[in-house]
C-alpha cells in the first residue's frame, strides 16, 4: 500500500513492519531532523551521516518493539541519541581531548571579522564547537532542549535520567557554554 502523507507516524511505523514503503516515508519525514541531531552531537557531516543511517537501520530492526500508543518521533530520537552517545564513547578519550583543544582554540580566536555576517557566522561556529566540548550527557540535554525543542519530561525518558538530573545537566551545560562564550570575547 502506498504511504499517504496524511498517515500518522505511528500508523506508518506499525505498517512498516511488513511494508518497506511505509518505512521509507518515515525516513523521508525524519532524515533531516535525525541528521541535524547527529551533526550537533558530532560536529562532522560524514560522521553525522553514518550515525543517522545507523539510527534508522536500528529503528527498522526494532520496529516489532515499537508501541503505537507512544510517539514515534520520541522513540526514534531515543535510538538516535543512544547511537550518538555510544559512538562518542567508542571514539576514546584521545579523540575527545584533541577535538576539545581545537574547539577551545577556535573560541579564543579573537581576530575580528570584517563584516557583521561573517562575525555572526563565526559566533555560531564558536558556539557549535563549545557545544561539542561539553561532556556528552550535558551536550545531549542542551541539543535536545534548545535545538530540538524537546521538553524535560521527554528528555528524561530519552536519556533514562531523573527529571531533576536533566534540569541540572541543562543548567550546568549552559553555564559552561556561557563561560566559554565570555572567555572568547
Amino acid at each position: 500500500m502506498r504511504p499517504d502523507l496524511a498517515d500518522s507516524d505511528e500508523a506508518l511505523a506499525q505498517r512498516a513492519q511488513t511494508d518497506r514503503e511505509a518505512f521509507g516515508e518515515l525516513v523521508r519525514r525524519y532524515a533531516d531532523r535525525i541528521f541535524n541531531l547527529a551533526y550537533r552531537m558530532t560536529g562532522n557531516r560524514t560522521e553525522a551521516e553514518d550515525l543517522a543511517q545507523d539510527a534508522f537501520v536500528r529503528a527498522y530492526r526494532g520496529l516489532a518493539g515499537f508501541r503505537p500508543d507512544h510517539a514515534f518521533g520520541a522513540w526514534l530520537y531515543r535510538i538516535a541519541v543512544n547511537v550518538c552517545l555510544t559512538h562518542r564513547r567508542q571514539q576514546g578519550a584521545a579523540a575527545v581531548e584533541s577535538f576539545d583543544k581545537a574547539s577551545e582554540e577556535t573560541i579564543l580566536d579573537t581576530s575580528a571579522p570584517l563584516d557583521e555576517l561573517a562575525e555572526q557566522r563565526e559566533i555560531q561556529e564558536a558556539v557549535q564547537k563549545a557545544i561539542l566540548s561539553l561532556p556528552p550527557m550535558y551536550r545531549a540535554v542542551v541539543v535536545l532542549y534548545h535545538l530540538e525543542g524537546r521538553p524535560y519530561s521527554e528528555i528524561a525518558e530519552l536519556l533514562d535520567l531523573p527529571l531533576n538530573t536533566v534540569r541540572t545537566h541543562l543548567h550546568r551545560g549552559r553555564a559552561m557554554l556561557r563561560e566559554k562564550f565570555a572567555a572568547s570575547r
Partner: protein, 194 residues
Amino acid sequence: MNTTCAPARGLVQRRLDGDALVTREQEILAEHLAACPACRSFALDLERVVDIIEHLPAESAPPALVGSIMLRVPAAQSQAAVRSGWLERIGQRLPRFIGQSWALLAGLAGLLILIYQTVAVRGVSLLNLPGAFAEWVGLVDLSHLESLLQATSLFAGSVGAELLVGVSLVVVAIFAVMAQALAHPPATRMLARH
C-alpha cells in the same frame, strides 16, 4: 560571587527554562541583578548564548541519505520474519512447515516400508542383531504387525511392489524438500538482492 549569587543564578536559569517565577522571586532577582555586575553579566551572556543556540541554522541531510538508508533496509517481510517474536515466528513459519511436513511423513513412511521389507518380509532375524538392542527387539512379537500389514497392504504378498513403493516415497520426499528450499530462498539471499 557572594552567598546570594548562587540562588540568583538559579533563578536566572529557571527563567530561561520558561518557569514562571513568583512575584517574590522576581523581586529578589531584580534586586540582586541591580546590585551585582557579575550576575548581571552572567544573565546577559546566558541569554545571548541560548539565543545563538536556538538560532543555529539547521543542517540539511545530504540528498543521498534517504537512499543510503533504504539500501541498508532489507525487504520488510523477510526482515519481519527474522526479528519478530517467537510466537509470530511460529505463525509465519507454520505454513511452510506444513508444506514440508507431508514430504517428511512420506519419507518416513517409505523408510518404514523399507525396514519392514528387510526385517519382516525378507526374513532377516531380529534376534541376530547384536547387544541389548537385539534383546529388546527380540521381545517384540512382530507376527501380529506382519499379518496386519500384509492383510491391509494393497500389495500383500508382493515383495517387489512394497520395495518399489518404499523407494518411491523416499525419492518423492527428497524432491519435495528440494523444491521447498528453492521456492523459499534463505534470508541471506534475499538480503543480497537489496
